[in-house]
């Protein structure tokens, strides 16, 4: 039985020490929100080290601290950062490290060993913020209430087999065995005929409202300018009008099945070798689309056909964006 209260106090102590000793300038972690057990990512700077006491760790940390790092890159630039990650966030961080998006030497990585995530909304509330939070092989317990891991229906957590992160510090011990599990949702789709499959995906594309939450919460979606809605970010006062008018538009803003399909499939293709299957996009989708049904098609290909394990090795060449001068296709291009 894991006791997240105990793990949280150990984590707080660790973070307080790092700030106190000056090892880091800032700690990025999950903190207690107003709406227990929902959590909030926060950057705790050394001048407000007292906020360390709000840090929390539990299966309710369904968000990603790596997305926070990415979104607040400017504010954190050049700082020594301690970041609390769970297994999938650790993998996402490796992807960003591979691309020098963040610098390893500026970081202290605190890995919270994760047994799976839990949905706060599945528990009756309000519960006091002192309610006991525990978990075991069966499920999660909040006070007197229990839910099984399967109850939350988080595709990625239920098929997660990652248990070998190598952070600088760890929090907690795994409380359940994570073994390779069949991606049943995918085998079901792969067994479908073309008509059936078209119907399945059409329903998803049709229902998308293009709020782009899936893209925005993604810890590894790192383009400054998205191909789908190139905005003002690439435009400077010197950009000539013709360039603005002719900026490529891969999908129009129309909320239409074909345009939505371009958006969602483009995202899946661009996620090949980047998606670490944290599943936050699927959890965040406000209209409940099974986004892993799309992403796992590429994830499956990346692993099965190319034998590439996304987010495993921060020093490995990235899956799609690597470059070799010896590439025979490129011969002559540099002469």
């Amino acid at each position: 039985m894991r006791d997240y209260r105990a793990e949280t106090s150990a984590l707080r102590q660790l973070c307080a020490g790092l700030l106190e000793k000056g090892t880091v300038d800032v700690v990025v972690a999950w903190t207690e929100g107003e709406d227990f057990p929902r959590v909030r990512e926060m950057a705790i700077w050394k001048d407000r080290a007292d906020l360390v006491q709000t840090i929390t760790w539990s299966p309710f940390c369904t968000t990603s601290t790596v997305t926070y790092l990415k979104k607040n890159k400017a504010a954190l630039a050049g700082k020594k950062i301690a970041v609390v990650v769970k297994d999938c966030d650790f993998q996402a961080l490796n992807v960003l490290l591979q691309e020098y998006f963040v610098k390893r030497e500026n970081m202290v990585i605190i890995g919270a060993r994760c047994d799976g995530l839990a949905e706060a909304d599945m528990f009756p509330r309000p519960q006091g913020p002192d309610t006991a939070m525990t978990s075991d092989a069966e499920g999660v317990h909040l006070g007197n209430e229990s839910r099984r891991w399967e109850d939350f229906g988080f595709t990625c957590c239920l098929t997660c087999s990652y248990d070998h992160m190598k952070p600088d510090h760890t929090v907690g011990e795994y409380g359940r065995k994570k073994s390779k599990t069949e991606w049943k949702h995918l085998s079901r789709i792969l067994a479908q005929g073309p008509e059936e499959r078209r119907e399945h995906y059409s329903a998803i594309f049709e229902a998308c409202i293009r709020c782009y939450a899936c893209r925005e919460v993604c810890p590894v979606c790192a383009c400054v300018e998205c191909a789908i809605d190139p905005g003002e970010r690439a435009i400077t006062p010197r950009t000539p009008p013709a360039d603005k008018a002719n900026a490529p538009s891969w999908a129009s803003r129309e909320r239409h099945i074909s345009e939505n399909a371009v958006y969602l499939t483009t995202r899946a293709m661009h996620m090949a070798g980047r998606c670490v299957r944290c599943g936050w996009c699927e959890r965040a989708c406000p209209v409940g689309l099974p986004l892993m049904d799309i992403l796992d098609l590429t994830n499956d290909a990346v692993g099965r056909i190319y034998g590439y394990e996304t987010g495993k090795d921060p020093s490995a060449a990235p899956f799609l964006v690597s470059y070799a001068e010896s590439d025979p296709d490129d011969k002559g291009a540099h002469q």
Binding site: E41, M42, T63, Y68, D121, Y212, A213, G231, T239, E254
Partner: protein, 343 residues
């Protein structure tokens, strides 16, 4: 008399017998739910509340996320033809919305019909009526009583329904759904004001998730424009569009031209949101709301201050969707309370 007592079955039968009318009802609660047509296999909702509220708001019925405004083409002789879209739609009745969703049409009407009516919305709105229902169950994020509404308020409704055991009390508020009203009224028992208020009183429960009254905070919000709190409030915002796309009253849009080929195309309106950085991007490359703190400030102040100053009611109807579905737990009520000095 404008209040009658009938059975819920009578209502269902009347709606089904109207024939050339589209009846929309909530299909389920949460992320999987939306407003769908009342098919033969579907039952008319007998109650409503947080447990029947879909994540998608009903605004899309009269203000679609994707709406063609016109189509254009250039003929072989160089003649230009522009054809406006046909905004007419079949008479549509929305049935069983909780007061937060019902009141959303008051806010949308104020924004899109006052002064210069927006033709697409106006045309659809003409053929659209709302049968609101008193709300029987509050949710974790509800705040209707903080924004001048309540689980029994009738704002935005043409007909209001108060479930009372197997019966319903039906109150006529406007003449818009008189065709339905006439069918219901025939042979129905009229109800005294006293009876109506005693039934409605059952729905007078207090919604106590957030202890504030928005109207009282307008002054403080106005002074809070420059507050450093906006930065703290928006720090973990990921700038997705969930809070605004799911908001029953957010109505910002974008208009784009979509070429079909070299000689023809269409002009389309889609939902847009103040949370996207591109929203306020100007051609000069200047962007007055480059920071997410300024974008979140716009969202909060538009709901709780500007719309209130212009139209006399809050634009927030207290449905709580933006809080519940925010991926990073940004809470608009908490923000308003902190800025208003309540918390």
């Amino acid at each position: 008399m404008s209040v009658i007592r009938i059975t819920a079955d009578t209502m269902e039968q009347a709606l089904r017998e109207m024939g050339d009318v589209r009846v929309l009802v909530p299909s389920g609660a949460g992320r999987k739910g939306t407003y769908v047509e009342l098919g033969p296999d579907k039952k008319l909702p007998r109650e409503c509340g947080d447990h029947t509220k879909p994540s998608s708001p009903p605004k899309g019925i009269v203000f679609p996320n994707n709406e063609r405004l016109l189509s254009y083409s250039l003929g072989v002789k160089g003649e230009i033809s522009v054809k406006g879209a046909d905004h007419s739609q079949k008479m549509t009745i929305l049935y069983g919305t909780p007061p937060c969703d019902t009141a959303s049409f008051r806010a949308l009407d104020a924004a899109l019909l006052k002064d210069i009516p927006e033709p697409g919305y106006a045309r659809k709105r003409d053929n659209f009526g709302v049968v609101g229902m008193a709300c029987g169950r509050q949710g974790r994020w509800c705040l209707c009583t903080s924004v001048g509404l309540s689980p029994r308020s009738t704002e935005g409704a043409d007909i209001m329904v108060f479930p009372d055991g197997g019966d319903i009390l039906v109150q006529r508020l406007t003449g818009k759904l008189d065709r339905l009203w006439k069918i219901l009224e025939a042979g129905a028992k009229t109800v005294s004001d006293h009876e109506l208020s005693s039934v409605a009183h059952k729905y007078d429960f207090k919604v106590e998730n957030f202890a504030f009254t928005a109207e009282k905070l307008a002054g403080a919000l106005e002074k809070g424009f420059e507050s450093p709190y906006w930065k703290e409030f928006s720090e973990r915002c990921v700038s997705c569009g969930i809070c605004t796309f799911l908001c029953p009253t957010c109505h910002c849009f974008d208009i784009i031209d979509v070429p079909a080929d070299e000689l023809s195309g269409r002009r389309v309106r889609t939902w847009d949101t103040c949370q996207f950085p591109e929203f306020t991007g100007e051609t000069s490359a200047h962007n007055p709301r480059k920071e997410k703190s300024t974008r979140q400030r716009q969202r909060v102040l538009h709901k709780f201050l500007y719309h209130y100053q212009n139209h006399g009611h809050m634009m927030c109807t207290g449905c709580g969707r933006c809080i519940r579905y925010c991926p990073v737990d940004i809470n608009i009520a908490e923000g308003v309370m902190k800025l208003g000095g309540v918390k």
